[in-house]
Symmetry: C2
Subunit: 200 residues, 2 copies
Amino acid sequence: MPETRIQSRNRAAILDAGLEIFSRYGFRGATLDQIAGEAGLSKPNLLYYFQSKEAIHRALLLQLMDAWLEPLRDIDPAGEPLDEMLDYVRRKLALSRDYPRESRLFANEILSGAPHIDDTLASTLRDLVDGAAALIADWVAEGRLAQVDPHHTIMSVWALTQHYADFDVQVRAVLDTDDPLRGAEAHLTQLFDRLLRPGA
Amino acid sequence: MPETRIQSRNRAAILDAGLEIFSRYGFRGATLDQIAGEAGLSKPNLLYYFQSKEAIHRALLLQLMDAWLEPLRDIDPAGEPLDEMLDYVRRKLALSRDYPRESRLFANEILSGAPHIDDTLASTLRDLVDGAAALIADWVAEGRLAQVDPHHTIMSVWALTQHYADFDVQVRAVLDTDDPLRGAEAHLTQLFDRLLRPGA
DNA sequence: CGTGCATTTTACCGATTGGTCAAATCATTG
DNA sequence: CAATGATTTGACCAATCGGTAAAATGCACG
């Protein structure tokens, strides 16, 4: 039996509401009543579509991880190293701009010790990072990127791009601008260009 | 009436326990029972020393903000610009290394929209940042630092140093090392050196 | 129409939440 | 020692937590 219109609509509404609430208060801080209210449904109706609070959270985390790692997968080994890296930074920043709630959901999960991320997910993450790090190491060895630690470089991209989404409130308070992401792209491009551009 | 030995001991134990729990679960996710258990006191005994759950949280946030901004205050306008900036990065990273719970507490507060940080605190923060940014701008104008956006540069220091504390689990999973902070200092020094060192 | 299934609601459950209160205990000082 | 204030505890509260059961409703289709 395929999913009916009403099913997909409500499931989507619940996931969207869950994203809103979980990303703001974390798993433990979020309540089903809040999520139900945000979704415009009653609490028992929520639990008609998802077996438990954790099931909603798990579904969100799963669909997140895939999208989150996509920019890393899109680095082209055959491309021009510096361009590939700068494009990677821009793609990751775009993700932070377009999906700040997903970013905060992930941040909350990590902050609380990643209790809902199992070993499979963790090793997938590590394999992907190790692959990209190996690629960067090759580029460095060929002299097509400046000398850097590949793993720390990837971590830096994550730290900086994610910061603009996760610390939105802080960024706005300190920068006093309506669109902090605009200046961010120029700044981050400059930063990683100077870090990675091979010496003359 | 001065604070007795037993008072200061229990107050300290409560604040330490609160830091542990709040930093892991956020304000809403933390419970007084958890904090009481961690502090080795009964829940009513907690509330003998602090009026409410929020009072504990507020006390923690207050003592945190001061320590957190100290490295920024310690930048010496009379010093050598690049050295001052790199020292600032190292001081901030040391804070992340030595006080990861404070860092996570702050991150949790910002993630949930900073509901407990009032206007006074926010403007203090902004004034300090604006002051440091003005100093950096001067140094850039004098040609003693490379062309950068001062505000975004400060934000980058925060993002990178804080990341190593807040995302400890992720950092360890990806880097596979016991002491991720060791490599971090070398990497961040290199990164900010290349970003800020004035061109030849 | 009416039958059957999907959907929603009302009422409720035991456990836990932040917090209170008065009684009990402890420690200090005269 | 006695007394006095500081500290701690157990019992308890209303509200809220995640979740359940069953009845009520909506809806598609013969």
